[in-house]
Symmetry: none
């Protein structure tokens, strides 16, 4: 089964922007046995798009297109595919009604150009967009399948998941595809791969073959496992065994086996034990508290967060002794500990965290280079303090500091 992915958008033909959707799409197509033979990027031009679609449809069984489904004049994917397939564009009443309701709810006027999003080539089936206004489309021509998905990744991803699960997977052999996402933190990709490779190379040839992909995300390493079987239960059981093998090998480096984020796992640990939390941050600038509060319901356990960016704020708001700052510097384990203790005592919470470091690009010294981050986590009468040397630019160091702090908290609560 030959597949092709086309990313649409003139911005993707500039030196500044790159298509990344095709990576996720390729991963999902591979799982259902579709081999991606070509990827294209085409600009917002009706002629170029029609020519590209026509060319690809001379050989491709499955064509996935992302982008160009928005409401503006330069969103031409619908028109181009209608022209290529020689089908008229027709107003889909269901889509038009949904758009009207969406705008009504938001109290916004619906402009004429928004109506364009309800135009579909004859015979197309609309795919629901749970996170935006642009619907996706499913089209067939003979045995060929054409799927149009929105460009923004957060809209594209859930639609891709749904279309693979509900339409492509059943079509290609009726076999059930079951997936697991195992997340690890505190390890590098090559390190995880070297340790896991002997394990998952065995899986490939087992009675229920399991395909594995390893992905390095900014916040974690993810092992994506997928098994296909005529029975969903059989595939799920094989994956359960596989996940147990990984857990035996990686232990606490595994954060979750169902794709949950580190902050969601930490949140559940806190909520289950009815614990409350206060956060004192410096170099992470509020990102740690923000990530904790990304979890719905986090107001049950996050009591407060203090971003003590200046030394004065650390003294006034957190009670960090001035002589401690003078003796050890703001970026030091004693100060991280004093921040955790101070915010916890003042907030009256069960848990306190303190993070202080140098996010750069300036402020590093030979002794404490950019990326030096001291983190303290306090719960009950236990305080854990660690110093990290993190790599990357300012935003990466912030993000990696947050992951390190969340992970220290997880390990302390799981201990």
């Amino acid at each position: 089964m030959k597949g092709c992915v086309i990313a649409v958008g003139s911005e993707l033909l500039t030196p500044f922007r790159q298509d990344t959707n095709s990576l996720a799409i390729t991963a999902r197509l591979n799982e259902v046995g579709v081999d991606v033979r070509q990827k294209l990027v085409v600009g917002d031009d009706l002629e170029d798009l029609s020519a590209a679609f026509a060319g690809v449809l001379t050989w491709s069984d499955v064509l996935i297109v992302t982008g160009g489904l928005g409401p503006t004049e330069d969103d031409l994917t619908r028109e181009a595919i209608a022209r290529t397939l020689d089908r008229p564009l027709e107003l889909d009443e269901g889509l038009a009604e949904g758009l009207r309701r969406r705008f009504e709810r938001a109290g916004l006027p619906m402009r004429a150009n928004n109506q364009r999003q309800a135009l579909v080539p004859r015979g197309a089936i609309a795919l629901a967009n749970t996170r935006g206004t642009a619907p996706g489309l499913w089209l067939e021509r003979g045995t060929q399948i054409i799927v149009l998905l929105p460009g923004p990744p957060r809209e594209m991803t859930p639609m891709l998941d749904a279309v693979v699960r509900d339409r492509l997977a059943p079509r290609f052999g009726g076999a059930s595809l079951v997936r697991r996402a195992v997340r690890l933190v505190g390890r590098t990709e090559s390190d995880v791969d070297a340790q896991a490779e002997p394990i998952y190379s065995r899986w490939r040839t087992g009675p229920v073959p399991i395909a594995t992909t390893i992905l390095a995300m900014p916040t974690h390493i993810e092992l994506q496992l997928s098994a296909r079987s005529s029975s969903e239960a059989t595939a799920a059981q094989a994956l359960d065994r596989a996940v147990k093998e990984l857990q035996a090998s990686f232990g606490q480096a595994i954060v979750s086996v169902d794709g949950r984020s580190l902050e969601a796992v930490v949140g559940e640990l806190l909520r289950d034990r009815r614990l409350t939390l206060a956060v004192a941050e410096s170099c992470t600038g509020g990102l740690l508290t923000s990530r904790l509060t990304d979890v719905p319901g986090s107001s049950a356990y996050v009591e407060r967060g203090i971003v003590g960016y200046s030394n004065r704020a650390k003294v006034e708001l957190l009670g960090v002794p001035e002589d401690l700052l003078a003796a050890h510097g703001a970026v030091s384990e004693p100060v991280a500990r004093a921040m955790a203790e101070g915010v916890r005592a003042r907030a009256g919470t069960d848990v306190g965290i303190g993070v202080t470091g140098i996010a750069g690009p300036d402020g590093g010294t030979p002794e404490k280079p950019v990326g030096t981050v001291a983190i303290a986590v306090q719960y009950g009468d236990v305080t854990r303090v660690s110093t990290f040397r993190l790599l990357g630019d300012r935003e990466q160091i912030k993000l990696r500091s947050v992951q390190a702090a969340l992970n220290m908290l997880r390990l302390l609560l799981e201990a």
Copy 2:
């Protein structure tokens, strides 16, 4: 002048690897007036490659191919282009001799397959590789130009520079492409497009035609403008005039005309005036302070951030009167104002911000649905307070609240 970039390599069709060469190639082609109309990724397969080359050569004036020039069996770019152009592969004696000397110098045996790298389609001109064994090739068919470059970026880049400087630039009279990125906030994509379309439709046919792309990012709308002219100054002047037209039409909705982020613009306003800032957040959970501190050097103006997630924290840390919370609810303009005033007074800063809202998914009421966010910004003796009804899931509402707060601050400082 229409261009196309093809990246060759089956690894670039997996979920794990991405072509990045095409970004550098696009930048250099644009500089000499070649407009990249399509990018492709094709695997190491003779049929697929020949078909892709043949398809692209039906329309493209300049085709740049990277990868597939190595010595191994799966390096098929030379064979495929020879087949597409219907030219025999011939041994280039100069290349063969160069390879022999290279291996001799390295003290390595030259294997038979290395000899393949000296095979070129008839009429091809070899391009020197200063950092590897795979030579590049320059081919012409009528007025069409085909350039084959190696895949590894460190080999590709110097060869690209040389071929642009020595061959493409002299050929194309040096038409320069200049770009601008205009960022807007507080407006929707369709709204911006409806207003800007009459403006940029005129530009397309002006003496120096300007092409425009509109992009909806999670944090802003971006209009990307590009103009080409034989003189870089002429193109830049045309763009300066175009940007001024947009500024006249959109006024303060335009955040920057050089791609700077909202937080960077706000940071510059604060820094230029030597102002300091304190932030009180509730629903944004620290994200506002985090975004402000994403800017290098922000410690010069960000004094502190308080995430008063509980009502108790709002009272204790920000001095919000309890009866205000009781009378109006935590999500209200009076409370937002009290938060801004409280954090500013306690921190002793010039500027104070207060943000309180309902990020959801729970906590909404008919009167104050999820997405209701009250924001107050205070500077000097001016306080501005607004209530927003934001759409989206929890993370989007957090992000949109942050953008709204940063934008209110920008407008107050620019007033």
